[in-house]
């Protein structure tokens, strides 16, 4: 993690060959890589599931802010000499509560007031993070890791914490999934049917805080969207079937995380870059597929019209 001094050694002594079995053996030989894959898998699943709802609810800005807020959380925790993991979660969950209690304009969904508040919180959080880093003094390498991610030195204990938080978050999400979907797609009728919209959206923001804090620990605070937005956005491009796009989201998230970690291991560049690049590729590819499918369908409709 952040405190790891192994960064320089990551690329040393490893070489990518054509024997895939040998490559995978090499990849999983060091214990820190096994832990990196465990953490990456947990984070990809929880980020995919919660990110799917976030994209549908158009709360990406809130998600980004909750991740950015985790940066001062972690920096502050290191400064105080406590676990960075605790700092990530504490900051993101506190920020989620702040966003949740801000009164929204009645009637509408109040995007404008919400986004102004979120932007304010985000800017202040970044400034605090910068202060904590300079107060701590001279851990520039740590700063890069906090912002752009690292997969080195994920401890067994950290994997356990990630797993427990992820399992709890997914359990709660499963509990509120259907009313949350209802309140997202059709808020007026959901309210009339007795869905406690305020409660459901507050719980969701807390879940989003957990997910953002988890992802931040792998991709860094600034690149959480690689796992939180990109898989869900790509999957929702590909299909309008909720169940199917949810499954594709999880699958894409896992593929992006695993590929990113594997390539980063054989390279000297940061894991955040690779994870984000694969996510970006998936999104662009799905946008192209969707456009092509739409064009194909239009063409077919046109030909049928001409034939008729």
């Amino acid at each position: 993690m952040v405190t790891s001094g192994l960064a320089a050694g990551a690329g040393g002594g490893t070489a990518l060959g054509w024997n895939i079995g040998e490559d995978i053996r090499q990849l999983l030989a060091p214990h820190f890589m096994v832990n990196a894959f465990r953490a990456g898998t947990i984070v990809a699943v929880v980020a995919g599931a919660i990110g799917w709802f976030m994209v549908l609810r158009r709360q990406s800005f809130a998600g980004h802010t909750l991740a950015v807020v985790s940066f001062p959380g972690a920096a502050g925790a290191i400064l105080l000499g406590i676990s960075a993991t605790a700092g990530y979660f504490a900051a993101s969950i506190a920020a989620a509560l702040v966003i949740a209690v801000v009164p929204r304009s009645p009637g509408g969904r109040g995007y404008s007031s919400e986004s102004a508040v979120i932007g304010t919180v985000q800017a202040f959080a970044l400034a605090c993070g910068a202060l904590f880093v300079s107060l701590y003094g001279g851990f520039l390498n740590g700063l890069t890791n906090l912002l752009f991610g690292t997969f080195l030195g994920v401890s067994d204990g950290q994997v356990t914490i990630l797993l427990i938080v992820a399992a709890a978050a997914l359990a709660v999400l499963a509990g509120i999934a259907r009313p949350l979907f209802f309140a997202t797609v059709d808020p007026d009728v959901a309210r009339a049917r007795g869905v406690p919209a305020r409660l459901v959206s507050t719980v969701f923001l807390l879940l989003l805080g957990c997910a953002a804090a988890e992802v931040s620990q792998i991709t860094g605070a600034l690149l959480v969207f690689a796992l939180l937005v990109m898989p869900a956005a790509a999957a929702q491009q590909l299909t309008a079937r909720p169940g199917l796009s949810f499954v594709i989201t999880i699958a894409l998230g896992l593929a992006i995380a695993w590929l990113g970690l594997a390539v980063a291991y054989f390279s000297v560049y940061p894991v955040g870059f690779y994870v984000t690049t694969f996510g970006f590729t998936a999104y662009v590819a799905s946008a192209i597929i969707r456009a092509a499918a739409a064009r194909l369908a239009r063409g077919r409709g046109l030909r049928q019209a001409v034939a008729a």
């Binding site: 158009r58 259907r178 209802f182 059709d186 309008a240 796009s245």
Partner: protein
């Protein structure tokens, strides 16, 4: 002229229609009954002394200019707005107590064009959307209840004529098509009472006619009581059993031929209104103070509501 108006007193007795019908033997308990009801929002009396009886299976329109509280009346029936005086009974219970038996379509809501959720998914939410938990994918193969629910969803989609476009993302279909899907959503649970708030608003004329005919068919074939809010009576006039006009402070209700007369409407609106009879016997209302420019009034009014 059956209705007596007293604008100076700020309230209109709405009992004229029901008084006439009192001579008729009551078919059964009314589906919806308001008795001298009064509603206030933000300290302002929206309407008072509203008396309305809707018999089971009737198609009733709630009419009136924008901003007089038509939606408030609907929300009072749903139990979302409390009455400050008078009583209301909906399906034999207090408002808000008959939830599952009421299908409600709120005032026009549009779906974001980018929303990647199919029409059929929105309709399915009408069946079990508020239930906690997660809909288990493929549950239809395992559970008979899920299979029945899915079948019911397909049935209502066919009923409203939405089979052709229910598989498309709901933001991509036209306003009239969305409205059909939303009516299907309101019908999934076989409600005894269907409450539609401005379902014809901002639809083009053919869509208005299509949706009006659909609602009338549902009312007749399935015996569903329909309460429909509109500001223009003409597209639905030929289907209606009863109309209730709300104007400044009060209401008048009765059969269309009783209430829809030049005298009553002119007095209600305080502006000259003509009711004409076409060669095939249909009524046409001309001269309602109902310009599209005033739509903003209603939305401003809605924004002041506490939710």
């Amino acid at each position: 002229m059956p209705a007596e108006h007293d604008h100076a007193a700020g309230s209109v007795a709405a009992t004229a229609g029901s008084a006439k019908l009192a001579g008729r033997p009551p078919a059964s308990r009314p589906a919806v009954r308001f008795d001298r009801a009064e509603a206030r929002l933000g300290g302002r009396t929206i309407w008072s002394d509203v008396t309305l009886n809707v018999a089971p299976g009737e198609f009733v329109a709630i009419l009136g200019p924008n901003g007089v509280g038509k939606s408030t009346l609907v929300k009072a029936a749903l139990g979302l707005v409390p009455l400050v005086s008078g009583t209301a009974v909906v399906l034999g219970r207090a408002p808000g107590q008959a939830g599952r038996e009421i299908g409600y379509l709120p005032q026009r809501r549009s779906f974001d064009a980018g929303l990647r959720v199919r029409g059929i998914d929105v309709v399915s939410l009408g069946a079990d959307g508020e239930r906690w938990g997660v809909p288990f994918p493929g549950g239809g193969r395992l559970f008979a209840s899920r299979r029945a629910a899915r079948q019911r969803v397909n049935e209502v989609i066919e009923l409203v004529g939405a089979t052709g476009f229910a598989g498309q993302p709901i933001g991509r279909v036209s306003g009239g098509e969305q409205q059909r899907l939303l009516i299907a959503q309101a019908l999934v649970r076989r409600p005894r009472l269907l409450i539609l708030d401005e379902p014809l608003d901002s639809l083009d004329l053919p869509s208005q006619a299509g949706v009006a005919a659909l609602v009338s068919r549902v009312c007749e074939e399935d015996g569903v009581t329909v309460l429909l809010v509109a500001h223009d009576v003409n597209p639905i006039l030929s289907y209606l059993d009863r109309v209730a006009y709300i104007a400044q402070g009060g209401a008048v209700s009765g059969t269309p031929s009783e209430v829809i007369t030049s005298e009553t409407l002119s007095a209600l609106y305080g502006t000259p209104i003509e009711v004409l009879r076409t060669s095939d016997g249909r009524l046409v209302v001309v001269g309602q103070p109902e310009a599209p420019a005033r739509h903003t009034d209603r939305h401003a009014d809605g924004a002041a509501l506490p939710w």
